[in-house]
Structure formats: structure tokens, C-alpha cells
Symmetry: C2
Subunit: 271 residues, 2 copies
């Protein structure tokens, strides 16, 4: 248990046959916990991996003390089966680790520079939305730049439609409405995005990068870092496509998201 | 080394950030070894993972004695980096295991029944052809049937073009010519297929399942099992689309492939 090593023949290692979650934990209390458990359950249902009992999962965040942590938990289908063929009665493996965490708070205030990636996400509706262990596309996309000033890479699908960023979800405001990409063919359905969609009318759109360039404000969001407003969008060669000034419109999403995570939602006022 | 467990934070486990090979080893001698090393090198170049030195890799197959084995070797990017971001100077991990192996020799003679899968492989040219650790599509496709009489699942891409089968490559003979699917957008470029293409004129075709139904003979091939002629093709509901009788045409590919692996190439004559 905990973060013990995994055996050579674990299917999580062999095939990425498993799921993970990264959860913000404040003073032993997991944030957006139900949303994380729901996504894990949805993934387990999709891959047909039996989940550890809820009590075991529920006990994990409480094992750390005061302060801010990120809990990474990982469930694999375990060992067995014949090659790709799954074992008839799998014995899944659960592993987890809690690490102290400091969010990139300067990004809350100053916004971030993001860069359009060359890599196009492949369509796989069967695996879209869930947080499975096949993440080479994200790894390869993240290798497209090493400029420390670029916070995230913007990912489109093979039809050049916006999907997400390397490790966050995209939301923007255009013509007075909040919009976010469709995630039914690829991408990960983030838990903070889900929480925001419960609180705000955010429309799903199948659109290209032009939607982002037309936006009055745009953000990348996840349940660990919170909401980063976009300050600059670069193309895949590093040339600037669009700049945003950090104004009141940019604060909007943080006001709704950050209370959920216990993060400040008046970071602009402090500036 | 060998088949020691991998730590929780290994990127092979976290993201499938690595490569593998399965190599037939006869009496300590690896078959198609150069082709396996070449594919591994191609994968390492694509993912930008430094490979273990050739001498270390070359020493692995010799560690088993007389008899037939399958060597599975696995190289991951190791630990480190920040989330999807790779470590600047990765220390890859190499693991391997040799297992006694008995090929499905009845399939050589009797041929196999295969089944069209519902799952469509997503396009990802950046990862196509290499044997990386993101294999959930294969795992999910293999879960579409549990009939022990069905040997492999036939996989098409999202445009319904043939790609491969769940763990083998496809070759067929149509209008007197040998054909195989294009593998530049998805699928694994098998080492036995590569060896056959060096020996025989096999054309790459972007075609749907109708090409298979028109074929006079068809085979699934890999470097561990050799060549299985197709006896029957079923649709995704299990209804028969095409049957082939095991005649001389069906032997053709085995005659060229099996000597490479030390497998018999006159299995039909024995029948």
C-alpha cells in the first residue's frame, strides 16, 4: 500500500492499464473530493476495473497533518491476464503518495503565457474525459518548449479544435458568454471545471484557436493550481498571437473557483 | 535490474512514458534481435529517452539456457520531472524478464478466427509504429470478446481503415499481390512484418475491411507467434463475414516467415 513499488508485471506499468487522481488536501481535508471520486469511478467503469472500497479511499487524505498537500492516487488493474487480455478476476493495486504543495500564486495575479502545441490529440471517445495512465500525448506536448516563462501548452485535436492545455482545462469569455471545449473525443474532464460548470453557465464549443483569440478573457484551470488567467498566447514557434491585460474581467473565474479550493479570490486587488 | 519492481514515481507507470519489446529467444539466441533493437532505438529517438548501452541490452537474451523463451524488456524515462514535464537529464530504467514459451502451433496449421473490433484506433502519428507503453486501446479492444475460439481482434482507425489486430500485424493477398495496412497514423510496426517486407514485395494500402473480405488468403503475424492464417473473419457482433479454406495459398507467408523464427514451415504438409 502507500507508495510501495509496483511489480514488473503490473498492467499499469505494462500498458498504462489504470487510473490516477491528484487531489489538493488542506489540513487533512481533500478539496473537490466527491468530484475526484466520481471521475475515478467513471474511469473504473469505462475500463472495467473494480475500485478499492470507498472507506479505504476516504481514509487517504486524512493521513497528512496541517498544511497544503497534493495526494496522488493510482489504481491499476493489477497483474495477470495474457498479454493485452485482462485477467478474468483482476486484483487491482492501489498506491498513493502525499507531497507538500505550494501553488504558483504569482500566476493567479500576473496571469500566464501559454503556447499553442504542434501535437494534435488523437480521437479516442472510449478513453476521453477520464484520467487514465496513457499520458504520452501530454508528455510529448510538454516537451515542445522549455522556456520557463511558458506555463502551459494549448492542445487541439486533429481537426484543429481546442481541447485543453497540457495539464489544465481551458475556459474563455467571448461575446459575453463563458465557453469551454468539447471533451467527448479527447482530453481530461477536470474536477475544477466540473465544479465551475455547476456554478456558472459555461457552454461547450467545438471551435479552433480563433475562439481564444477573440476572447475578452481566458483561463486555464485545475483542481490543484486553481485558476490562471491568460496573459499571452503564443503560436507553436513562440510568436505572440494575442495579449490580454489583467483587468476585472480576468478575475471573474477566480471569484467562483478559488473559494472551492480555499485559495484567495481577490488576488488582483492585492496587486 | 532484471524484473525488480518499479518505484511509485517512475514515469513509465505514471504516464506510460517508456517502451517495451517482446523477443523470442531460442537456446539463448534472440530472433530478429536487430529488428527489435532498431524499433527500440526508433522509439527512444521519438520519445527522446536515452537507451541503455547496446552491450547491456545484448547480454539479456544469453542469460537463459536451452529451450524457447520470450524476453520482455522495458525501458522507462525513469523518475523526476514536474508532472508531465520530463526531467532535464533523465535516468532511464531498464527491466526485463524471460519466460518459457510455447507457441500456439495448432493455429499455424488450422488457422484462426478473428473478429472485427468496435473500437477505432485514434490517430497519433507521433506515437505510431513504435512500441510504447500507452496500450489501453489494445487492452480495451481485447475486452470486446471472451470467446476462446477468437484469436485476435481486427482493428481499424477512425476512418474504418484497417490497421492491425490486437497484438499482431495484418497481411493479405488480393489480386495476386501481398498487402498490409499503412501504419503511419496508428498501430505498431512489427518486427516480423519488417522482416517479411525485406523478403517479399508487400504493398502498403489504406483500405477498409472489404480488402480483407476480397483476399484469397490473409494472415496475422508477429515475432513471437509467427504466422497464423485467417480461417474466419467475424463482424463485431460475432457474425461470420468471410471464411477461408486452408489451402496452399495460406502456407505462402509461413514459408518465408517461419525459418526466420526457427518455426516449422511445412505445417500444412503434416496435417
Amino acid at each position: 500500500m502507500a507508495d510501495e513499488p509496483l511489480p514488473f508485471d503490473d498492467r499499469g506499468l505494462a500498458y498504462g492499464d489504470g487510473l490516477f487522481e491528484t487531489v489538493l488536501v488542506r489540513d487533512g481535508h481533500p478539496l473537490l473530493w466527491d468530484a475526484h471520486l466520481q471521475r475515478l469511478a467513471r474511469g473504473a467503469q469505462r475500463l472495467e476495473i473494480p475500485l478499492p472500497d470507498t472507506q479505504t479511499l476516504a481514509s487517504l487524505p486524512g493521513q497528512v497533518g496541517a498544511g497544503l498537500f497534493v495526494l496522488k492516487l493510482l489504481v491499476t488493474r493489477g497483474s495477470g491476464g495474457r498479454g493485452y487480455a485482462s485477467p478474468a478476476s483482476p486484483t487491482p493495486r492501489l498506491r498513493w503518495r502525499c507531497m507538500p504543495f505550494t501553488p504558483q500564486s504569482a500566476y493567479w495575479r500576473d496571469g500566464v503565457r501559454v503556447r499553442l502545441c504542434r501535437l494534435r490529440l488523437g480521437h479516442q471517445p472510449l478513453l476521453a474525459g477520464i484520467k487514465h495512465l496513457n499520458r504520452l500525448e501530454n508528455v510529448m506536448a510538454r516537451r515542445e518548449w522549455c522556456d520557463a516563462d511558458v506555463a502551459e501548452g494549448v492542445l487541439c485535436d486533429q481537426y484543429d479544435r481546442l481541447v485543453e492545455t497540457t495539464s489544465m482545462n481551458l475556459v474563455w469569455q467571448r461575446h459575453g458568454a463563458l465557453e469551454t471545449p468539447d471533451l467527448t473525443a479527447c482530453g481530461v474532464a477536470g474536477t475544477l471545471l466540473a465544479a465551475l460548470r455547476q456554478r456558472l453557465p459555461i457552454r461547450t464549443r467545438e471551435v479552433g484557436v480563433e475562439a481564444l483569440m477573440e476572447a475578452d478573457a481566458a483561463w486555464v484551470v485545475n483542481s490543484v493550481q486553481g485558476v490562471w488567467p491568460l496573459r499571452q498566447l503564443d503560436d507553436a514557434e513562440g510568436a505572440c498571437l494575442r495579449r490580454w491585460t489583467m483587468q476585472d474581467a480576468q478575475r471573474y473565474l477566480q471569484r467562483h473557483a478559488h473559494p472551492v479550493l480555499g485559495y484567495p479570490h481577490d488576488v488582483f486587488d492585492e496587486a
